[in-house]
Amino acid sequence: MVQVADVASRAREGTEVNPSERGSLAIRVAGEAGEGIKKPGELLIQAATRAGFQVLTDFIPPSEIKGGVSFFQLRLGSRPLFTRGDSPDVLFCFNQEAYEVNIQELEPGGLLIYDPGAVIPSDRDKGQFQLLAFPVEQIAAKDLKMPIVKNVVALGGMAALFGLETSHLYQLINELWARKGDAVVQTNYRALEAGIKFMEDNFSADVRARFVLQPAKTETESMVVSGNQATALGAIAAGCTFFAGYPITPASDIMEFLAAVLPSVGGAVIQAEDEISAINMIIGAGYAGKRAMTSTSGPGLSLMVEAMGLATMAEIPVVIVDAQRAGPSTGMPTRHEQGDLFLCAYGGHGEVPRIILAATSVEDCFYLTVEAFNLAEKYQSPVLLMTDTVVAVRTEGIAKPDLSKIRLEHRVTWEPDPDGSQTKGASDSGSNGAVQGTDNTVAGNNGVAGAKDAAIPFDESESGYRRYRLTEDGVSPMAIPGTPGGQYVAMGLEHNEKGRHRPDPRTHTQMTEKRFRKFDLAGKDAPDAVRYGKPDAPIGIVTWGSTAGVAIEAIDALAAEGIDACLVAPKMLLPLPDQQLGEFMRTKEHIVIPEVNYRGQFADILLAKYPRPAVRVNVYGGQPMLVSKLTETLRRVAAGEVTDGRTVISPIIGRLEDLVTPDDLLAPVEQR
C-alpha cells in the first residue's frame, strides 16, 4: 500500500482519497463555459483509453450559453466504470468562479489544483483539502510565450498526476495538429512537456502515488464516444438513410452528427421546421421504404404524440429517440431526469401500443439503436429508444463494435406474382430501391412466407393486394411505393385489410387486436437485460436507463460490506419482458426500484404487472442519482428498516447539503 505525505485534510476526519487503491480516479476540470477545456479533456480521455484505462466522462452543459459555469468530470478506472462518480477526487480550477462553485463537491481530503493567477482559495479550504498551485497561465504565457496553449500545459500536468504513459498524448497531438504544420505540433509538444515537468517537480512522487492508477489492459480495441454519438453511429450501422429532426438539448448533436455523415452513405438529414414536421417526414420516408429516424427530447416528443399514433395505425417503421431531460415543460434543458417514461408508454389517444427500449450505457446507445430499427422493421411500428441526459452527454470508452456481428432485420415486403397476374399495368417494372431482406419478401396475394393468415374470416372474393392482411402474428407484407400492383393507401383512419376506411365494429375489433398481437410478440425479441450481482441475493434491484450504472456501483459498495444485492435492468421497457422480470419479481425477498423521477414511473408499470411490496427510491433534483445515497437506502433495506413504499433521497451529497444555506438555493450558482 502506498504511503502518503501528511496533508491538511488528513487531520479532518481521518479520511483521504485513495484512488490508486480504489482503482478509479475522478477528476473534475472546471472553467468558464465554452469550448476551451473541452478539447484537451478529449485528448486526455483518448490517450487514457489507448493506454488501456477505462474512461467515463460527463460534460454537464451550463444552462446559460455564456456566463454560466460548466465543468466536465473525467473518471479513469482500472476496472469498468458505470457512473461519473459521486464527487471528484481531484478538482482542477481555472478561475475563481469555477473554484467557488465546485469546491464543495470535492471529496474530503481530495486534491485541489488551481491556477494561482486566477484563483485564491479560502483558508477554510486550505485546511480541508490538499492544495496544489499550478500556474498554467504563467507557464504558457511567460515560459512558452503562447498563452493559447495553457490548456495543453494543464493536460500534461494531469497526465503526469495519475501516471499516464504520455507517448499516447504526443501521438494524439501529432494526429490532431499535423495538418496545421510542424510548428504547431512542436509548440504543443513543448506545452505538454512543461506541464509534465511542473507536476513532477512540484508534486512529489510519493504524494502522487495515491493518484497513480494501473491501466486495465483489455484485448478489445476501444473508442471513446458520447451516448449521442453512439446513437448516431448505431443509426448508421442499422442502415438508417433518412433523418429529420429539430434542435433541442440534449438531443441536437445526434442530428448534427448524422448531418455530417449520412450523405456519405447515400442518406439525407433534414432540419425540419419543428418536431411535428420531423416525425411526419420520417413517417413519409418510412412509408416510402427507408429506415428513418428522428431524435428529440421531452418538449419535442410531446409534439410528436399525434404522429406516433399515425405510424402505429398506418403500420410504418420509424425510430424515435428521446434523450430525456428534466421537465415538465421547458423545465431544465441541461439537467437529468427519467421523467418521460409515462409519455413514451402512454402518450397517444386511443389504444396505441408502444415498443420502448431504454439505454443503460453509452454502449447501449449504439446497439439499442440497431435493435430499435430491427424491431421497427419487423413489427412495422414506431419504436421509441429512450436515453437520458447522463447517458446522452457522457462519453465512455467502449469496445469497437464488430460490424460483422450486427444482424439487420428487414420488413416483410410484398412483391407481385412473377406472372404479374395481380397487377394493374402489368408490364411496368417499378424501381423499388427499398432496403429489403430478400428472404422476407412475400410473393403475390396468397404467398404466406413470413405472414400466416390469422384464423379470422376474410372475404376471399376481395382480389388484389391486402396491405393490412390479418395474419397470425399481426404482421402484413408491405408494398413499397414503386412496386407494381402493390398500390394501396396508408392511413390513420381505421381500415379493412385492403386499406379502406371501415368503421364497423368487427373491423375495429380485429385491427385493434392485430396491432396488439404485434406488440405482444415484440416482447420475445427483447434485448438481454443488464444483470449484476449475485443472482441469489435477497435484495433485487430493478431499474432502467443510466440509473442501472448507479445500481451496479451501489451493489459493489455493499458487497464490500458483506451485503448482497443484485440487479436486473431490462433494455426493453414495453412490452415488459416477462422472461427477464417475472421470476425475479416473484422470488426476491426485497425489490428496490430506484429512479430519477418523482412518481416512480417504471415502478408503476412494473408493479401493475407484478403486484408486490417494493421499495421505490426516487430523487428529482435534476442530477443523477448518487451511488452513496442509493447505497445508504439499500443498507436500510438489508437491515429490514424499509420494506415497501417510497423513499425519497437527496440529489446532492451530504457534505454539500450541510454547506448550502437557503441563500445559496434561492440564488443558485448557475445564475451568478
Binding site: I236, E273, I276, G284, A285, K424, G486, Q487, A490
Partner: protein, 288 residues
C-alpha cells in the same frame, strides 16, 4: 424515373381505383378528381410510380379514388409526409392534396417551409373556403364577415391570400384553377408536374353543402384568366395580380427556375449505402 419500354398508352380508367368517391352530389372536388385523372393520363404515368399524399378533410380523401400509391395522413401534416416521400424516393412522382383548412390553418407552418425548400412536387389545394368534413366552420380563406357555425356573428379575420403567401415564401410555381373547368385545371396540373420545383395550385372547389357564399356561381362571376402578357417570372407583377380581389385571376401567376431540395440532397451525397461499413470503420477509428 423508371420508364416503360415500350411506352404503353394508358386510359383514364386505369387511374381510377375501385372505391367510388363519397363526396356530396355537386361537390367541387369531383371536378378536381377528374382533372387529376386527366393530368395523369396526359403524363401517361405508371400508377405504381406515383404517390398521392393528402391530409384530412373531404378533399383529402382523394387518394382513395386514385389507383396510385397513396398516403391519407393526419390533419395538416400533408407537407411533411410528402417531404419524407420526396426525399426518400425522388424517382417517384409525388402529387399532394389537401383542403384549405388542412393546408392553410393547421398546416400553414409546414406549407411555408415546404415552399422555402422548393421540393419537386405538385400541391393541389381544394379550396372551398370552409371546413367541409367537420360540417361547416370558417376556414382561413373564408371572407371577413362570413357567418358559419363557428363564427355566427361573422368571421372577424381577414381571409388569407394563398397566392400572395406562396409567392412570398418562394414557391417556384404558383397557379390558381377552378374545379368547374377541369380541362384547364388538368393542363395547370400538368404544367405543375412538369415544373421542376414546388408547384402550388390553389383550386376553387366549392362546397355546396356548407358554403353558400363561395359557390360555383359566385366564382363564375368573379374569375378571369390572367392577361396573356403577364410575365410569370416577375415576382412583383405576380404579387400584384395575386392581390386582386376582383377579378380573381386564374392561371400561372409565377414560374421561375431554382435548384430543388432534392438536387441539393443528391449533390451532398458523396457515397451510397454500399459505403456504410467503410464510413463506420472510419468513424470508429476517429474515436479511438
Amino acid at each position: 424515373m423508371a420508364v416503360d419500354t415500350p411506352v404503353r398508352e394508358r386510359t383514364v380508367d386505369e387511374y381510377k381505383s375501385d372505391e367510388k368517391p363519397t363526396w356530396c352530389p355537386g361537390c367541387g372536388d369531383f371536378g378536381v378528381l377528374n382533372a387529376v385523372y386527366r393530368a395523369m393520363r396526359l403524363k401517361n404515368f405508371a400508377p405504381h410510380e406515383v404517390v398521392a399524399v393528402s391530409g384530412i378533410g373531404c378533399s383529402s380523401r382523394i387518394p382513395y379514388f386514385i389507383s396510385t400509391y397513396g398516403f391519407h395522413g393526419i390533419h395538416g401534416r400533408t407537407m411533411p409526409i410528402a417531404t419524407g416521400v420526396r426525399v426518400a424516393r425522388p424517382e417517384l412522382k409525388t402529387l399532394v392534396f389537401g383542403g384549405d383548412g388542412d393546408a392553410f390553418a393547421i398546416g400553414a407552418g409546414h406549407f411555408v417551409h415546404a415552399m422555402r425548400r422548393n421540393l419537386d412536387l405538385t400541391y393541389v389545394v381544394m379550396d372551398n373556403a370552409i371546413y367541409g368534413l367537420t360540417k361547416g366552420q370558417t376556414s382561413p380563406t373564408s371572407g371577413a364577415g362570413f357567418s358559419t357555425l363557428s363564427t355566427p356573428q361573422g368571421n372577424p379575420e381577414q381571409a388569407l391570400n394563398p397566392m400572395m403567401l406562396a409567392i412570398s415564401c418562394g414557391a417556384t410555381f404558383v397557379a390558381r384553377g377552378f374545379s368547374a373547368e377541369p380541362q384547364k385545371l388538368a393542363d395547370l396540373i400538368v404544367r405543375g408536374i412538369e415544373h421542376k420545383g414546388f408547384s402550388f395550385i390553389d383550386v376553387y372547389s366549392p362546397c355546396p353543402t356548407f358554403n353558400k357564399v363561395n359557390t360555383f356561381k359566385s366564382y363564375k362571376e368573379s374569375v378571369a384568366e390572367l392577361p396573356g402578357d403577364h410575365n410569370a417570372t416577375d415576382t412583383i407583377q405576380a404579387m400584384n395580380y395575386a392581390n386582386s380581389d376582383r377579378p380573381l385571376y386564374l392561371g400561372v401567376f409565377l414560374q421561375r427556375e431554382a435548384p430543388t431540395f432534392e438536387q441539393h440532397v443528391l449533390q451532398q451525397q458523396s457515397g451510397d449505402e454500399g459505403a456504410r461499413q467503410t464510413v463506420l470503420q472510419g468513424l470508429f477509428n476517429r474515436f479511438s
